[in-house]
Symmetry: C2
Subunit: 111 residues, 2 copies
DNA sequence: ACTTACCGTAAGTCATAGCTTACGCTTTTG
DNA sequence: CAAAAGCGTAAGCTATGACTTACGGTAAGT
């Protein structure tokens, strides 16, 4: 397993609007930092910093190509977060169903 | 009734470790603020503030019961975020498959 | 080999998020 | 009715995060 680069980093990475804009922009495919920065309201170094965070979170794949570095979405980057959400909300749904069941207490109960 | 409480709020809500601890603690079921705070390393008012953020993000359901207020996980709270991730990463996977396909069918000769 | 392009990092500034203490309101209890 | 319990909110402090400009290092072009 070890899909997870630590949920913490993934969520922090996704919590920033500029970083989400970067991800949106990468949907069409990988691109170098310069091109990426042109479509964004912040400077190129700022983009570089965001890319570092996104990469550390396992959300991006970096492909050095001579002079440039191509950044693209990592296909498995979201697996850790997904697993986390599924786990957490799985229990939540169970607890909710249980509560609803308790409220309806006119049905038979079991264990 | 949009699921979307704005993914912005959802992600920011999830990005904080204390708030995730709160969610974890609520997995077993709803509970009032006081009980919730006892299991956490921060003060009760701090928990209240976090609960407000989580509620605004649509992640919690509040049930006033006389003197107290019971906080529980909202079953549909994650739907918006899930949809967002599915959409974003759906395209990412397509782009990735496309790129892989391109590489196989027409190898670029460089160097 | 020199110049240009591309990129990451360092240093510094400014805004914001999270915490604590203090306070006021509402509901329960004696 | 008075006292206490349970919460939310305001005010203030501090740490952290996001941005900018400046700089250095490597690859490409002439």
């Amino acid at each position: 397993m070890a899909y997870t680069h630590a949920i913490d980093e993934t969520l922090i990475a996704l919590a920033d609007p500029t970083r989400r804009a970067i991800l949106q922009r990468l949907r069409v495919g990988a691109m170098p930092v310069g091109v990426l920065a042109e479509g964004l309201p912040v400077s190129r170094p700022a983009v570089s910093q965001h890319l570092r965070i996104l990469s550390n979170a396992g959300l991006l794949i970096v492909t050095p190509q001579g002079n440039r570095r191509l950044y693209g979405l990592a296909p498995t980057g979201m697996n850790g977060l997904r697993a986390y959400l599924d786990d957490l909300w799985g229990d939540a749904l169970e607890a909710f169903a249980q509560a609803a069941h308790d409220l309806l207490k006119d049905d038979t109960h079991d264990t």
